[in-house]
Symmetry: C2
């Protein structure tokens, strides 16, 4: 099992609080000691930090935890290796450019036989089933669309179809973003919460930390957080259903399949 | 003008010393205050740090300077914006996957009219002429080779041809790596040095730092450093000629055109 963490927000927001909790699962409160990675979108640009060390001990993770990088979309992953050796090229998130956008992706689960799926344009750098699945997904989307599609609803449906098709191979909990939308697909374990005014306070499950979002936000802020399991103990998280795709934009759910 | 810094080594080596010097050119001893980026190869994986702040003031740059990430290939860039607004997506190095390898690239110079060159598969995310040139280069290589070529000499020659062709558009000093080779192409300003046993000491030009490589290395280490201008005052750097391509592998020059 790996842990996923995603965020979508209408204003650049730091994720230090949630990342704090997640990091503890990397070698301390959880068994995910085989590397971690986090990608921050800033406009169409992406800032990425990765490490093959357990996140609870990682110098880079400490830096990220203490340095509040503000971003409107975040995709993060801590890993317990089950496919592919422990190496930087096997560390999520994985990314590829498509239609002039950076596509960033993290996956939790195992996909049996996915590597037999032939690829066209995108090719894995590492040896994980996860990266193969990303390459397959992008290849399929590019077969259907030469350019970035304008008709979003049709596109979201096609995305849902391909994700569902891949999920036949096993467990496929996914976070995926193109710098505008955050796609969250669940087959076994994924949940989300949207925070907006009036903001309350939250108590982290994995670390002895409480935050009062009221002190950290403005009344117009809308922030959604997606995670493998609820990160806080005193809030109501939405538990996703198997086969469900939720699409976020600027902190809010814009589509749901 | 931007500053380039590259490294190729036969063992994982930290670049803190050279990066120290380069960083000072970002807003202190030089005018390159519009962002910087550095990519460290670790096997086929890449670790990348980027910032739109001047490198002399950047928190991330301070972290990178003090945290010795060991790598066998490094590609780094500090930027004075001349094409494309100051934004993360316009910050070098740029990277794309080709043939299952990450290709990382940084460019110094301006390329007039390059954006009129039609692209096939690779598409820029930002608005720089530099990224367009990378996409064009990779498209051309992929037209000639479906898969990673075995015949390296023929491939290096083809690489040199396309780089030369692009350089007709202006100034095109380039660092490019696929995790095995470091390609350095010069049209106006690029120089390199290979350090091996017996190691001496070096005095940084831009910062009040001296290092004795003898204390930091083993007798078998071979490390080449490539930069826009010599970084040290007491060593003999090889100044590259216009149109010259030097290819490094594991710290040493393996081809030269």
């Amino acid at each position: 099992m790996c842990e996923l963490l995603g965020m979508s927000a209408n204003v650049p927001t730091d994720i230090c609080f949630s990342f704090s909790g997640l990091m503890q699962r990397g070698g301390r409160t959880g068994p995910h000691k085989d590397g971690w990675g986090i990608a921050f979108f800033e406009g169409k640009g992406v800032r990425e930090f990765k490490d093959v060390d357990a996140s609870a001990n990682s110098e880079i993770a400490k830096f990220v935890r203490n340095y509040p990088i503000k971003s409107h979309i975040v995709v993060s992953h801590i890993r317990q290796a089950n496919s592919g050796k422990i190496a930087l090229e096997n560390t999520h998130p994985f990314s590829r450019e498509m239609w002039g956008r950076p596509w960033v992706y993290a996956h939790n689960g195992q996909l049996k036989g996915i590597k037999k799926k032939p690829l066209i344009q995108y090719c894995p750098v590492g040896t994980t089933d996860s990266e193969h699945a990303l390459c397959y997904l992008l290849d399929q989307l590019k077969l259907d669309y030469d350019n970035r599609p304008n008709a979003k609803k049709t596109f979201f449906k096609r995305m849902h179809e391909i994700l569902t098709q891949i999920s036949v191979h096993g467990v496929f909990n996914v976070l995926l973003s193109d710098s505008e939308y955050l796609y969250c697909f669940c087959t076994t374990k994924l949940c989300w919460i949207t925070r907006k005014a009036p903001f309350g306070s939250a108590q982290l499950k994995d670390d002895d930390v409480t935050i009062n979002f009221h002190d950290e936000t403005t009344p117009n802020d809308i922030v959604s957080v997606v995670a493998t399991a609820p990160l806080t103990t005193n809030e109501e998280w939405n538990i996703m259903e198997p086969g469900e795709l939720v699409v976020f934009k600027a902190g809010e759910v814009v589509a749901h399949y």
